[in-house]
């Protein structure tokens, strides 16, 4: 059983290196439409071209197309509505500053997604989460590490996970664990991509993900069953 990678979603996260290129409109046109407010591919390409030419109304349309995905990403990564709003704002401000450097090596949505992740990572670093050495800095304090509970009743999770409990458990994860868990298990990044983003080893990313999942399992085991909460 290829444990640590078996749950990886298929996601293509191409480089978001912002460099100038006129092919951006083509890339936008070929990107998948995940947003209900999106028009046709050619309309999107036209909107991008106008925004790159300095049309702020066109930029507002791009915001409408991508705001949900970016805000949701920020919310998942930091777990705080207020911080997610600030980070979404910062991500779109950076998008505005760099929009004319988008060259279309990847879909605009992918490029913007990567930009937003970098904004969140920068924010977390400012808050004191040192990501340069995950072994030391992302390892939570001993009381935050997952414990081992041998002999406890098996947790039969299949089909029985309490959504509220899982949501709370993810929210309560230490920042380093949550970062890896969200990037891999929710956003679908591969370990090699996470290693690049966080400047850590692939093995470290795998190890931290495992510990994050253990921590969640522990939290779920300690969460009262629905009938017990009534």
């Amino acid at each position: 059983m290829p444990y640590s990678d078996s749950s990886t979603q298929s996601a293509s996260h191409a480089s978001a290196t912002p460099v100038r290129d006129s092919a951006s409109a083509t890339a936008l046109a070929s990107s998948k439409n995940h947003y209900s407010t999106n028009g046709s591919a050619s309309e999107q390409a036209e909107i991008l071209a106008r925004a790159q030419a300095g049309d702020n109304q066109a930029f507002a349309q791009l915001y409408s197309m991508h705001k949900r995905r970016i805000y949701s990403l920020c919310l998942r990564m930091v777990g705080s509505v207020a911080e997610a709003e600030d980070l979404t704002q910062e991500a779109f401000l950076q998008f505005h500053r760099k929009i004319d450097t988008f060259r279309g090596e990847s879909a605009l949505s992918t490029w913007l997604h990567r930009l937003a992740i970098n904004v969140v990572l920068m924010h977390l670093r400012k808050k004191g989460l040192q990501l340069t050495s995950l072994d030391e800095a992302m390892e939570p304090a001993p009381d935050q590490r997952p414990g081992r509970s041998f002999g406890a009743p098996d947790l039969i999770l299949s089909g029985a996970i309490d959504r509220l409990a899982l949501q709370r458990a993810i929210d309560d994860l230490p920042a380093g664990y949550r970062l890896i868990f969200v990037l891999h298990d929710i956003e679908g990044y591969e370990h090699n991509e996470i290693a690049t983003l966080l400047d850590c080893s692939i093995g470290n990313s795998k190890s931290q993900l495992h510990k994050a999942r253990l921590k969640l399992r522990e939290a779920l085991r300690n969460y009262p069953l629905p009938e017990a909460r009534r």
Binding site: N56, R69, S207, K211
Partner: protein
């Protein structure tokens, strides 16, 4: 193997699981894992948690006034850039 002995083996195995996983080894090939229902159930739980988490987070709408804040910040930046251009 007694229940107690089994838990000792589980503890040893689970203690080194992060290192095993980090090394890229296939945990399923480990002799203990092959014979241990407890550790297999543990990994099944973890996979189930990961799968459940993917279903958990809906795409949500940011507050309506967020765009106004962004637009205002963009205008401020553009004004600043304009002032610098005029000065030079």
């Amino acid at each position: 193997m007694s229940q107690t002995t089994n838990y000792v083996a589980c503890e040893a195995f689970q203690s080194k699981m992060p290192q095993l996983i980090a090394s890229g080894a296939d945990v399923a090939d480990h002799p203990h894992f092959k014979d241990c229902d407890v550790c297999r159930a543990l990994l099944a739980d973890l996979e189930t948690i990961a799968a459940a988490a993917r279903e958990l987070f809906p795409i949500v709408e940011p507050p309506d006034d967020l765009w106004e804040q962004i637009e205002s910040a963009i205008e401020d930046e553009e004004s600043e850039i304009g002032r610098h251009s005029n000065a030079s």
